[in-house]
Symmetry: C2
Subunit: 188 residues, 2 copies
DNA sequence: ATAAGTGATGTCACCTGGTGTCATCACGAT
DNA sequence: ATCGTGATGACACCAGGTGACATCACTTAT
């Protein structure tokens, strides 16, 4: 083994998740996270842009998979069908990280600063989905509306899923929510 | 005139808007804003919780008016009709501040930090609208979906409105967007 | 085998956002 | 004239974040 332990990034993530959970986000210091990981504050900021980002590393993966699902759907698909395909992709990803999703979500929900960061990630996801929809011929307004709507449905479903005692699959919860949205928009 | 010039808050807001516009948000220091307003850094933080909040003071007014519009609508109104009423209220408010809306929006869009703050304000608005919808008998999921959808439509319309060379009324742009959303959700 | 180079880390100094605490001063009330 | 009150200033301090440079293990060329 060399001078440096491997997986510095993963160690920092684990340390941060643990400390944020134990003592709260605001009460945790970057220096403490780094120390717990056997590193220094300066090194923390070489791996993560700021104190919040350590909880969001890897969130581009979800974005990539949802965009890919939109691109891969049959050419005849409606906007709502494309959103459904993206949500199925999200379901696949979420089920894979179920174990971490709950504590992470609890931490984020407990801090306005972290909630802000999550919201801008969601906005970035929506923008990426809108690009994919535009690329499939939808006009700008329709693409943006559909993309944001999809992200909203995802978020609503996520909150229900992460605290669901029955462990209902995300896919089912999301599909129900999407159907409910359709009712709202088409009724009256 | 006494020791203190009046309207310290307004002076701080003006100074901040001017400096953020001239030199950029990140490049502007709270001490500089305070100095331009004839005050000190400490006093700035007595009026505003942080460097971002100075651009968002008064945003509860929009929320109050949109919620009030939902509460005041006829009892038979559908969820979509209630969103429409809320958007009309937003239109009224936006037209009143048209002059400031553009430079302020430019500044916010230029800084991720400020965008984050705007997003959490939007989320708070959506939560308030969802409460109002629940109070009118909608179940939780429907209320949250409708409220977020309304905020999305508002935002899409706002971005078009603020840069529209024809100065089309916000109300019209928002109504068009809402109709387009309906098409998306009900088609296919 | 030794020297040079490379990449990850540590060290240190520094700026700025943000807060707690106490002093100060103008004003109104007594 | 005195006293209280509320807004402000002054000052010290902490933590997030960054730039610059030193350090050390490991690799590669000679």
């Amino acid at each position: 083994m060399g001078r440096w332990q491997p997986d510095a990034r993963a160690r920092l993530q684990e340390a941060a998740l643990a400390l944020y959970g134990e003592r709260g986000y605001e009460e945790t210091t970057v220096a403490e996270i780094a120390e717990r990981a056997g590193l220094t504050k300066r090194t923390f900021f070489r791996y993560f842009a700021d104190k919040r980002e350590v909880l969001f590393w890897g969130s581009e993966l979800l974005q990539q998979q949802m965009v890919a699902a939109i691109e891969a759907a049959p050419a005849t698909a409606s906007a709502l069908a494309l959103i459904g395909a993206a949500l199925d992709a999200a379901a696949e990803r979420f089920e894979k990280v179920r174990e971490f999703a709950r504590p992470r979500h609890r931490i984020i929900a407990s801090s306005p600063e972290l909630t802000e960061r999550e919201l801008i990630k969601a906005a970035s996801l929506a923008a990426a989905m809108a690009r994919a929809l535009r690329a499939r011929g939808f006009d700008d307004t329709a693409a943006v509306l559909a993309a944001h709507t999809g992200v909203t449905v995802m978020h609503v479903a996520f909150v229900r899923w992460v605290d669901d005692p029955d462990q209902t699959p995300f896919q089912q919860i999301a599909r129900d929510a999407l159907a409910q949205l359709r009712e709202i928009a088409c009724a009256g």
